[in-house]
Amino acid sequence: MSPLAQSHGAQFTRILSLGAARGDLVVSNDDIAEPIDSSDEWIRQRTGIIERRRSSDAEQAIDLAVRASSEAIEKAGIAPGQIGAVIVATISNSVQTPSLAALLADRVGATPAAAYDISAACAGYTYGIAQADALIRSGTAEYVLVVGAEKLSDFAKPTDRSISFLLGDGAGAAIVGPSDTIGIGPTLWGSDGSKWDSVGMDRPLKEAFDDPEGEFPTLRQDGQVVFRWAVWEMAKVATEALEKSGVTAEELTAFVPHQANMRIIDEFAKQLGLPESVLIARDIATTGNTSAASIPLAMHRLLEEHPEASGGLALQIGFGAGLVYGAQVVTLP
C-alpha cells in the first residue's frame, strides 16, 4: 500500500505587498460629538482621533475589500489566478453565510481559490497572516490574499460613549507568498475567554429580532478592562514575540499595533521601551479604529510616509474581542 503523499511548500514566506481602502466619507469629531454629549477636544484627548473615515451607503465591506485587494495583487506582480487561498478577517459580513472571502475571490479573479472568513475581531489580520504563513510553508497554497475588511459604522450606536465614536470603515489587504529569506517570524497568538463580555456586540441577533422595538445590535466595550489588558498583557505578548523572533526592540524599524486608541498605543510603546528610532504607526488619528483592517491600513500608510522603511522589521500585534490576540515580527514589504 502506497503511503499518503505529504505536501511541502516554500521554506520561507513574506508579505509581498499591501493594499488599502478607507471609507469614502471623512467624519469629524464635531460630526458625532453631540449625541454622546462630548466635544472635539474631549475626543482628541481621550482617543487621539482627529477624524475618522466611514463609508456611505454606496460602499459595503466587500467593496472596500475589493479595492484594497486589487492594489495588493497588482503591487505583488502576480496574476489573481495564482492565489491559492483568500482569507478575510471581518465582523462586517452582513450575512452569516456565505463568507465575504468567497465573494471577494470571485470579484478579484481568484476563483477557485479556497475562501473563508476569520472571526477574530481586531486580531483577525494577524491570525490571517499566521495562517497564510503556515499554508504556504506546508504547500497548501502558494500565494495567499489576507484581508481585514470592516464597515463598523453599521454597528456603531451614535449615543454610545464606550466605543462607537472610535470606529471607522476600511480594508487592508496583503499578498503573502514564498520567499528566499524569512519574512514572517513566529506567531504568538492566543485568547482569554474569561473576558468574553468585555467588548463585542451588545445583544444577540435573535434577541434584537424578537424585540419589535429593538434596534440592530451594536458594539460596546468596558473600556477600562480592555485598556488594562491591551497595554499590560499585550506588552508581555509583544516582548515574547520579539524574543521568539530573535529580534530586539532596537532592531525594529516599526511598531504597528492594532489602532484601538492612541492612549493605548502611547502607553503600550512606553511599556515596551521602544527606542526613538522605531517608527510607531498612528493611523488611527485620521482613520479611526477599523478593527481587523487597522494593522494593514496602518502599515500601508507608514510605508507611504516612510518608503525607506521597506525591507526593515516591524512588530505587528492585534488584540480585541474574545479576548484574542496575535503578534508577529515581519519584514516590511
Binding site: 484627548q45 481621550r46 468596558d222 473600556g223 477600562q224 485598556f227 488594562r228 497595554v231 499590560w232
Partner: protein
C-alpha cells in the same frame, strides 16, 4: 512591606502626579477622581496598575469601579496589604 495610610496617600499622589501632572497637594481623601480631579478612566487605569506595583497589591478590574474617591482607593490599598 506594608505602608501606613500616610505613605499610601503620598505614594498615590505621586502616581497621580506622574500620570496627570496634578500636584500632590490637590490629592486629599474626599476628592473624587473624576469629578474633582478630572482624571479620566484611562488615566485611572494606568494609576491603578502603577499602584499595584508600588504597593504590591492586586486591584481587580471589577474593584476599580468602586474606587471613586482618593479615600476609597487608599482604604482598599491599605487593607489589601494586610
Amino acid at each position: 512591606m506594608a505602608h501606613t495610610t500616610e505613605e499610601v496617600i503620598a505614594g498615590l499622589a505621586e502616581l497621580i502626579n506622574e500620570e496627570t501632572g496634578i500636584s500632590a497637594d490637590q490629592v486629599s481623601m474626599e476628592k473624587s477622581f473624576t469629578e474633582d480631579l478630572d482624571i479620566d478612566s484611562i488615566s485611572m487605569m494606568t494609576i491603578v496598575v502603577n499602584a499595584e506595583e508600588k504597593f504590591d497589591v492586586k486591584i481587580p478590574d471589577d474593584e476599580v469601579k468602586n474606587l471613586t474617591t482618593v479615600g476609597e482607593a487608599v482604604e482598599f490599598i491599605t487593607k489589601a496589604q494586610a
